[in-house]
């Protein structure tokens, strides 16, 4: 077990498995969020379901997600350190040939997403006043509207969703290869399904701040 965690492949497998859990979560979270377009009553009922009626389930999910994020980030951090150490003298010139922008931004994009997740939880779950002074517990719909009436928050969320798009585009493709599950392909770098997943999740999430900003949700 320790040997597995020590190895670069083992750490990458941990990153992949926890990544899969997180992909599953963002798809569900995105779908749940879209209920905001069904009106305040429906949305607040959904929030109440998660925060009161099913609170035990919610806590179980929170624990799994927390552990996943920690392991995902920890393995990424340790592997990044190893990679940096593996090339102490940088090239004067190295031209990327086929790597995507998405793959090259996994690390710093991941750090940004981590910061985003902390702020996002602080803003809508913990109710940090400096992020959202008007936060009211139990008024999920109102909190969302109040936050996204501020263009700065809309912009911040849209940027975060762009990085999520990149992260998912590379991550959902790479995970099957990390876990040894993908089939051989004539063009292994081609990634159609990951693109669809990344776009659906990103657009789905972005509709909420955009909906408020455009006055569709108020």
């Amino acid at each position: 077990m320790l040997k597995f965690w020590d190895s670069s492949v083992g750490k990458k497998v941990v990153m992949g498995l926890t990544g899969l859990i997180l992909v599953g979560f963002v798809i569900g979270h995105m779908a749940g969020n879209l209920q905001i377009f069904l009106g305040m009553e429906r949305y607040n009922a959904y929030a109440k379901l998660l925060q009161e009626d099913l609170i035990e389930v919610t806590w179980a999910v929170r624990v799994v997600l927390f552990v996943s994020v920690v392991l995902h980030a920890l393995s990424a951090w340790q592997l990044t350190r190893r990679s940096w150490a593996a090339r102490p003298v940088e090239y004067d010139m190295r031209e990327a040939q086929v790597s995507t922008y998405a793959s090259r931004t996994m690390r710093w994009g991941g750090v940004f997403l981590f910061v985003f997740i902390v702020l996002h939880i602080g803003q809508f779950t913990l109710g940090w006043k400096w992020l959202l002074p008007e936060f009211a517990r139990g008024a999920a719909y109102g909190n969302v509207v109040l936050a996204f009436e501020r263009p700065l928050w809309v912009a911040f969320y849209l940027v975060a969703m762009f990085f999520l798009l990149l992260h998912l585009f590379h991550g959902t493709w790479a995970v099957l290869r990390t876990l040894g599950l993908a089939r051989n392909a004539a063009e292994p770098l081609q990634r159609r399904v990951p693109l669809i997943i990344a776009i659906v999740v990103t657009v789905g999430f972005s509709l909420v701040p955009l909906g408020v900003a455009l006055g569709i949700v108020r």
Partner: protein
């Protein structure tokens, strides 16, 4: 002479593993577009020798693109701009008169520079020693038809076996990962019946060795595959990962017997 070119070279010069290195500039004059890249360097070196200077050290052997000895970073691309080509099979027709070319050694902690553009690639040998073999009783070979192998498996094993161990995958990888090499060596045995008994142990040992040598991990950039002169697919890395995972789940620890042996 018509059609010859003048090329500006910016070359990494380093006297030894511990010596500090730096770039030096040279001009290759009257280069024939028909000459190979290494022949161009040969001419530059002859001139340097005549001037009483140290020639640029670079690795080479067969100069036929099959031995895996040559290799350098040419304008930031491992083995230069031609796809599926080793440095020795790159020709000067890939460049234009007046071009500037930057030459650097493979850069990785595990590949220390021996001199100029020559690096020590013995970590690759040690990865092979860790498990890139099959243990069989030797003797007279059996009838070739005694072990049926499907055409598809034979072809795939051969695709992996095409690896010449040049190290371009490490050089091109932003993580300086040796995964493509290791995966190819694991797969060309693991796809064949003779390689089955040690298949998962092999993956465990070879992955452990590549980590020990100080290479980085794979993040599936795909740069290795683009740099590989033999076009080895990153699908083999996926196969290595699968073998490693299965090995980690199923392999029993090796029995250590003490005593005289």
């Amino acid at each position: 002479m018509s059609g010859t070119m003048n090329i500006k070279l910016k070359v990494w010069r380093q006297a030894g593993p511990k010596a500090p290195g730096k770039f030096e500039e040279y001009t290759a004059t009257e280069v024939s577009p028909e000459s190979s890249f290494l022949e161009m360097l040969d001419v530059v070196n002859e001139k340097l020798v005549l001037e009483g200077k140290d020639p640029i050290a670079f690795d080479h052997d067969c100069r036929e693109g099959i031995c895996g000895m040559c290799g350098m970073m040419i304008n930031g691309v491992a083995h230069g701009p031609s796809k599926l080509t080793t440095t020795c099979q790159l020709h000067m027709r890939s460049f234009k008169d007046g071009d500037s070319i930057t030459l650097e050694p493979w850069r990785a902690k595990a590949f220390p520079v021996i001199r100029d553009l020559v690096v020590d690639r013995s970590p690759l040998d040690r990865i092979i020693q860790a498990g890139g073999f099959i243990s069989v009783a030797t003797g007279s070979p059996q009838d070739a038809n005694a072990l049926p192998i499907s055409k598809m498996d034979a072809d795939e094993a051969m695709d992996a076996a095409a690896c010449i161990g040049c190290g371009a995958c490490v050089a091109a990888c932003p993580n300086a990962s040796v995964s493509l090499f290791t995966a190819a060596k694991i797969s060309h045995l693991g796809l064949l019946p003779q390689g089955q008994p040690e298949r998962y142990r092999r993956a465990l040992s070879m992955v452990a060795q590549m980590d020990l040598e100080g290479f980085g991990g794979c993040t599936l950039f795909g740069e290795c595959m683009a740099a590989c002169p033999k076009g080895i697919s990153i699908d083999f890395i996926k196969r290595m990962n699968g073998d490693y995972i299965w090995g980690a789940i199923t392999e029993k620890p090796e029995k250590v017997t003490l005593g005289s042996g």
